[in-house]
């Protein structure tokens, strides 16, 4: 059942496996859905979806697959009300007559009939062959018999709400390609881990092998040996662009900053700021004041090549800022070497360098600064600052080259 829907879900990008689908079938068999589309929506969603970021995808697929049913959503409340309490079918009901009468109707016919009845019908009807009702042989209603027909009411009454909900896209905010918040970023940063036990710290873990060895050496008297637990060895340099064109992304960058600075699992974390492009100085505060700056060469000399480097910036600037000697237009600070050379220096010294760009990748080719974006992304791997891309970027960052 609903095999098409299964493939539809997979097409939408939900990673549904056969196992989960069998669970859905099991739920159907156990009548957890109570033959209602609304219940089916919830049951199916709770089994198939694994994160709130996927709700929207599910809603899209669901709305799309069941969209044709939507045409019957204008059933007046009164009709639902009387359909709530179905009448039994008459004993002498002529099934054959119903087959002959309704057997050849197409879906369009049925829809037309329903529309007509909805206009005419003013009261309850049961056991007949013409009106919307229960226990009869007409093409509309429920608890009746007809070879073809449209079920109206009887547990299905909330059909509308399921599709409505799916259509509303209530969970759009959680989509993974959306822009990040601090917590999501923190989760992303936890990917940056490389464990090693060769770091300082208290010895708290029992080393079984050595314990056995020592105990034997000790003529069988127990001697316990402890070792240091493994710890993360990742060291990170993060360089933020705090230039004018970054202002509109300040919210996002602040979230990123929060996430980085809260992540306490790094062995070492250095944060510097720059204005549009890096030159001779890096700044230690976002205001980029000369008083609070360090020589970029000092950084390159003193932070060894084990550090991983993340640039955060829009990379959009005037080409002269990137390519010219003296291109740094900021407070008249002169640079002997063009900005791009400094980027290359970082690239040369550190093996793992990435650039995160708050501008969406689809806009890189025609936004302001497209040429500098292109030039920089040739030097450094550039990724847009969204959850999914950033996770990918961090994976790249951790992989040793």
């Amino acid at each position: 059942m609903f095999i098409d829907f299964f493939y539809k879900l997979r097409e939408t990008g939900l990673d549904v496996s056969v196992n989960e689908w069998l669970t859905v079938m099991e739920a159907l068999k156990k009548n957890l859905c109570k033959s209602s589309l609304t219940e089916f929506y919830y049951v199916c969603r709770s089994i198939v979806v694994r994160s709130e970021s996927e709700f929207d995808k599910f809603d899209t697929a669901f709305a799309d697959y069941f969209k044709d049913i939507k045409k019957f959503d204008q059933i007046p409340q009164e009709i639902y009300d009387f359909l709530e309490n179905p009448k039994e079918m008459a004993e002498d009901f002529d099934k054959l007559a119903a087959d002959l009468r309704n057997g050849n109707l197409t879906l369009e016919d049925l829809q037309r009939l329903l529309r007509e009845r909805l206009e005419e019908q003013k009261e309850r009807h049961d056991g007949g062959i013409y009106w919307i009702g229960t226990g009869g042989g007409s093409t509309m209603g429920h608890s009746g018999y007809s070879p073809k027909g449209i079920r109206v009411g009887g547990g299905e009454g909330r059909l509308r709400s399921a599709l409505q909900m799916a259509g509303e896209h209530n969970y759009k905010d959680f989509r993974e390609d959306n822009i990040l918040d601090t917590r999501q970023l923190q989760v992303a940063f936890r990917r940056l881990r490389q464990f090693s036990s060769r770091v300082d710290g208290p010895k708290t873990e029992l080393d079984v092998e050595k314990t056995i060895q020592k105990t034997c050496d000790n003529a069988g008297r127990l001697k316990l040996v402890f070792d240091r637990p493994r710890q993360n060895t990742v060291k990170l340099i993060v360089l933020f662009d705090s230039g004018g064109s970054m202002h509109r992304y300040s919210q996002m960058c602040s979230a990123l900053f929060q996430a980085v600075s809260k992540s306490n699992h790094f062995k070492d974390l250095k944060i510097y700021y720059f204005h549009n492009c890096i030159y001779d100085q890096l700044y230690t505060t976002p205001e980029c004041i000369y008083d609070k700056s360090v020589e970029t060469n000092w950084v390159l000399r003193n932070l060894n090549k084990d550090y991983k480097v993340i640039f955060v910036g829009d990379a959009a600037m005037s080409p002269t800022e990137l390519l010219s000697v003296g291109g740094n237009f900021y407070y008249g600070v002169f640079n002997e070497e063009p900005g791009i050379e400094w980027i290359r220096k970082f690239k040369k010294k550190y093996q793992n360098v990435i650039w995160l760009n708050p501008i969406l990748e689809s806009r890189w080719i025609h936004t302001y600064g497209y040429d500098t974006i292109r030039m920089i992304s040739k030097e450094v791997d550039m990724y847009e600052l969204t959850v999914s891309r950033m996770e990918y970027a961090l994976k790249k960052l951790i992989a040793s080259k």
Binding site: S46, R50, F55, Q186
Partner: protein, 277 residues
């Protein structure tokens, strides 16, 4: 069949109730995600009370290992005992202690097992429990025993989404995301905690509360437990409900960070109107 309909002390949304019943009917663990303070942990308690079943809580910490939940073999104790020839050293069972998961499996009656904040543990932790949660059994090599659940426990797992859970694990769970309650729901929740609360005060408190939650610069958004404390404070001090929005008294009860307090202070001066850039 078990059917959960909420309880007197726990206000449950239709959605959540549905998910709980689905997971019980399909005998699969229910994974609950949501903001802190949406009552994830309380849910298991409510279920156990409503169904009259024992609740076993396994609190996960960053150092917790999957093995701890199954059983612990106290080797060191046994080694020490063997040195002094203590009685029963050759009985290995004496040194095997069942963990929370083992306890739940070993129980004669169906229990509710809460695995709280599973995301606190190491990234690989959930993967180590796949088989155990699927088959509801595990093997103890030391005693050559298999602990198998007599009745499959109702398993509730909560996560704050600090870490992503592995796919294989998620596949085996029924997933439910608890949304932060809206004002209507929140009013209901508060009424469960306070027997006779002044309607007008409640209305004003919630108005201010949701405005504060909406202030963009607030990092740690106040949640249910904070608003309950806040109402308590406001009710005791007898503050005029009309002034709550303008003055935000006892803001420290709601907000735990200096930066957040300042952000709300600023927003208050603007009358909670968002600044335009």
């Amino acid at each position: 069949m078990n059917n959960f309909n909420g309880s007197n002390e726990y206000v449950v949304s239709d959605d959540l109730m549905r998910s709980v019943n689905i997971s019980m009917a399909l005998e699969k663990p229910l994974l609950i995600k949501g903001e802190p303070g949406t009552g994830k942990t309380m849910l298991a308690d409510a279920i156990s009370k409503a169904l009259g079943k024992k609740l076993i809580i396994w609190n996960i910490k960053s150092t917790t290992k999957a093995q701890d939940g199954l059983y612990v073999y106290d080797t060191v104790q046994r080694l020490y005992d063997s040195q002094f020839g203590t009685e029963g050293v050759n009985d290995i069972k004496k040194y095997i202690k069942l963990g929370k998961l083992g306890e739940a499996f070993n129980s004669d009656e169906q229990v509710v097992l809460l695995i709280d904040e599973i995301d606190k543990a190491d990234l690989e932790f959930p993967n180590d429990l796949l088989w155990e949660l699927d088959k509801m059994e595990f093997y103890i090599p030391e005693t050559k025993e298999t602990i198998k659940a007599k009745v499959r426990p109702i398993v509730i797992i909560t996560s704050n989404a600090e870490k992503e859970l592995p796919d294989a694990f998620l596949r085996r769970c029924i997933f439910h995301y608890i949304e932060f309650p809206n004002a209507e729901m929140m009013a209901e929740i508060i009424k469960v905690h306070f027997n006779n609360i002044d309607e007008y005060l409640l209305e004003k408190v919630l108005e201010a509360f949701y405005l504060i939650r909406d202030v963009r610069d607030v990092q740690k958004k106040p949640s249910t437990s904070e608003v309950i404390d806040w109402i308590q404070a406001l009710a005791i001090s007898g503050i005029d409900p009309d002034t709550i929005k303008e003055t935000v008294p006892f803001a420290g009860v709601l907000l735990k960070k200096n930066e957040d307090l300042e952000a709300v202070e600023k927003a208050k001066e603007r009358g909670f109107v968002r600044p335009r850039w």
